[in-house]
Symmetry: C2
């Protein structure tokens, strides 16, 4: 599979088979994330893998309560990965301050996408969840208050019988994105 | 090449051959970035590709002046890609506000890594530059003030004769990262 095929195969999977994910596959996804580049090699990420069904149920219930109930579908994923971040090393924090850009979030995006693309190659479905109750998740898992939880990632074998109701989601990834003419410019053509 | 091999092949390339990069290869990298997922499908990215040697020289000179001169090596890259971001759609901005997380930066990290991994597959070297004078770059290219320039990406054919002086940079990517035992935890072992 070429890299472009891999990228085209990835999609936000919101329905999963009731099957566990093998530990060696999860480990391979974690290894792909581990090797990610980051500003000043700060590696500001931690991944907490919840595949114990009881703990997964508690997590899904707490994370997707109240205003976050739009994310309830996460309870159908056999694995939920809690992405935990710090703001990076002294150097990368200093750089973030001078440049007014939180480099640790760029780093987290890169590492999570390594994990997600590796999962795609292994035939696993994934979905990023940004809309969840991070305070409740921290409390449940005992994650220190100063850490930041930018994302959850759901993972499991896709339920192929599921068809999204939303017609936009049924379209291929390539058709759901702006054309390059709107987002890429060469040299002086930008002006 | 498996995805994990691709990830292992990527490194921060700081020396390039004096060769142009073919337009179709750049286009393929841009297509891989275009297909990236983003919060609420906001696609907050723009890529400005500078491969005109005169404009590249001006850009490198302005971007890596003064306190940013540590990044001077960018003048040796035949292509410099300016990554320009907005803060996302109304929905993703509202989510960022409630969740105190700038989702657009996660999105930019994901899209840039698609671009970089596609370049790696094509035999191209790349390097992320976070340390540069974004105001000077905006002025040179006429980029509106409200846009954010989180990163530059250098690109070109790697100069294989170059050996980094820094012994840390000579080590394989896998050896330069923390072991998984420090960054990945299963279920209750986190506590």
């Amino acid at each position: 599979m070429t890299f472009l095929e891999l990228v085209k195969n990835r999609y936000s999977c919101r329905s999963y088979k009731d099957l566990p994910v093998e530990k060696d596959k999860i480990d391979r996804c974690l290894e792909a994330a581990r090797l990610s580049p980051s500003a000043c090699n700060a590696q500001p990420w931690e991944f907490i893998i919840i595949d114990d069904s009881q703990l997964r149920d508690s997590l899904a219930e707490k994370a997707a309560a109240g205003i976050y109930r739009f994310s309830r579908f996460i309870c159908r994923a056999p694995v939920i990965i809690v992405v935990s971040a710090d703001k990076g090393s002294f150097l990368s924090k200093a750089g973030s301050f001078v440049r007014s850009t939180d480099f640790y979030l760029l780093d987290i995006g890169i590492a999570c996408e390594h994990l997600v693309l590796q999962a795609t190659e292994l035939g696993l479905g994934t979905c990023y969840i940004g809309w969840f109750d991070d305070k409740a998740v921290k409390k449940l898992l005992g994650i220190p208050g100063k850490r930041i939880l930018p994302l959850l990632i759901c993972m499991g074998y896709p339920d192929d019988t599921y068809k999204p109701k939303d017609p936009i989601r049924r379209r291929a990834v390539a058709d759901r994105r702006k054309p390059l003419s709107e987002t890429a410019f060469f040299n002086r053509e930008y002006r």
